[in-house]
């Protein structure tokens, strides 16, 4: 090869991607581990009343869960991280499909996840 090889040694500016990638990764891990169980309990067992107490999905029961500090934390993690995981996947897919310029795509994905997180946080703090 005749061309002189220059070694790139000046590091690029640090990307902000970890801010989005970590909640994406955490959401993916959380749902890989607990997603099927959650769907089984809330989607199949609760509506059919099989295998769990009748009061399980009652308003009082659910509210008590959401008022408990640990319950709040679990609800925040489950709701917010699911949004961040979905946002990253949808954003990258839309970006690869060249569905539009980056800022509106980010607003429509990460923006939705951020709004959902803030809303969940507010609701959990109020109740």
């Amino acid at each position: 090869m005749s061309q002189a090889v220059q070694i790139k040694r000046v590091p690029e500016a640090r990307s902000k991607s970890p801010l989005f990638w970590l909640p994406f990764g955490a959401g993916g891990m959380l749902f890989a581990l607990f997603g099927p169980g959650l769907i089984l309990i809330t989607g199949l067992m609760a509506p059919t009343g099989i295998g769990i107490p009748e009061s399980f999905m009652s308003y009082a029961h659910a509210r008590a869960f959401a008022e408990n500090p640990l319950g709040k934390l679990i609800l925040l993690a489950v709701i917010a991280l699911a949004f961040w995981h979905g946002a990253e996947r949808i954003f990258l897919t839309l970006k690869d499909m060249k569905a539009g310029t980056i800022p509106p795509l980010k607003m429509g994905t990460y923006g939705v996840a951020a709004a959902a997180t803030v809303l969940t946080l507010i609701v959990l703090l109020v109740i």
């Binding site: 090869m1 061309q3 790139k8 590091p11 690029e12 500016a13 640090r14």
Partner: protein, 250 residues
């Protein structure tokens, strides 16, 4: 008997050719070569060069999937010509093109200068944690410590993973799967102390963060190096490093 000669099996190779001195743009040319069960795509190319057209250009050296020179698109998939056999390809013409995502130098030969620069940018050598003198003896390593990085050292720089990577196709500045596998080969080595330097080379948008976890790189790798795994490990490392960088500054 002429009938028997006619009946001898041949295979058609449709080759994307480009001779920069005379061609305005690449175009396909078909060649027919005698077919045999044992024939690799590379041997078919050599047969064309020896008997039909000596100007056909392609890279090759070892003929046994060690040197990484003969990577090309075979029926649209990045593969080594030497380890792809005609008998395993579907009947009909075989289409050969230079590796995707790289500038064509001539016929099936692509320009590799940028790839070499990327490889060199990630400090592809052991930077000892504590340098030892000759009197102090060799750097020791347990089999378990070696297993942590060994698979990443199997890379032969064939660049099939770059031809497979849609993100590299979109952004030629993306450091890409092969360089990330090599980086992990050194960062995962217990004798090495260069992690900090290497993480700084990949923390940008064109570093590890251009990857969108398509995973096709690992699928086409002829040496089962699993570059996608190396990229993923370094996303985790780079993400932690992102937050640690604030601690270091403070």
């Amino acid at each position: 008997m002429p009938d028997a000669a006619l009946a001898a099996k041949t295979v058609e190779l449709r080759i994307l050719r480009y001779r920069p001195a005379s061609d305005e743009r690449p175009s396909y040319e078909s060649f027919h070569v005698p077919y045999s069960q044992e024939m690799s795509v590379l041997e078919a190319l050599q047969s064309i060069k020896d008997t039909l057209d000596g100007s056909l250009s392609f890279r090759w050296s070892c003929r046994m999937a060690v040197c990484g020179s003969c990577g090309m698109m075979i029926n649209g998939k990045p593969q080594l010509a030497c380890s792809t056999f005609l008998r395993n390809l579907p009947p009909g013409p075989v289409t050969l093109e230079p590796l995707n995502n790289f500038p064509i130098e001539r016929d099936l030969v692509v320009t590799v200068g940028d790839f070499v620069k990327k490889i060199e940018s990630i400090y592809p050598y052991i930077i000892p944690k504590v340098p030892r003198t000759i009197e102090e003896g060799a750097y020791l390593q347990t089999p378990a410590q070696m297993a942590a990085y060994e698979s990443f050292s199997d890379c032969i720089n064939c660049m099939l993973c770059y031809a497979a990577c849609p993100q590299f196709g979109e952004n030629p500045d993306f450091i890409g799967p092969g360089a990330m596998a090599l980086l992990q080969r050194y960062n995962g080595d217990s004798r090495d102390g260069g992690q900090r330097l290497r993480l700084d080379q990949i923390h940008g948008e064109n570093g590890v963060w251009s990857c969108t976890a398509v995973g096709y790189c690992s699928e086409v790798c002829p040496k089962q190096v699993d570059p996608a795994n190396a990229v993923n490990q370094n996303k985790t490392n780079s993400a932690f490093d992102f937050f640690l960088s604030f601690v270091r500054k403070a």
